[in-house]
Symmetry: C2
Subunit: 102 residues, 2 copies
Amino acid sequence: MSESLRALSDIDRVIHEPARLMIVSLLYLSQQADFLWLLRQTELTKGNLSAHMAKLEQAGYVGVEKRFQGKIPQTLYRLTESGRNGFEQYRATLKRALDQSR
Amino acid sequence: MSESLRALSDIDRVIHEPARLMIVSLLYLSQQADFLWLLRQTELTKGNLSAHMAKLEQAGYVGVEKRFQGKIPQTLYRLTESGRNGFEQYRATLKRALDQSR
């Protein structure tokens, strides 16, 4: 089998999960994003989004900043450098595998 | 959010699982493949490969033929038309999403 297909065995499952792939793609495209914006964009439930963000934080892929905008609390997320690298590597691995089957 | 990212919510999880993505890609590239060949190519355990093949059969994505080559039993798999279509749709959805984040 081609190496590009076998590489799927070691794919980063933190990023591969569909909802997290959506979240990481969104964060990759924006400098930072707040929880409520992510909630609207992804159409996940609060509980699901929280769980996915916690998993991404644990993996060191996402940094969090809590602050107030006026009296309104805001939770801001951004991809860490490790998160950007992880996503770029994931994307390259998957694209190579998908191109294999053309 | 772009529709191409939101489409990840509905991605076909039968195909998305990394080992099954590897198996389906292999079957897409070959007319048919026998169990032992798939075992060598994927480096999965027998139990894991069996479980994934059963899941793909249940989804209607894979057809099975059991036969004897001389005295040796052989289990042959091929993608059904629904499996080929499912894979092509999966691949297109994922590529569009990954291209989004360039």
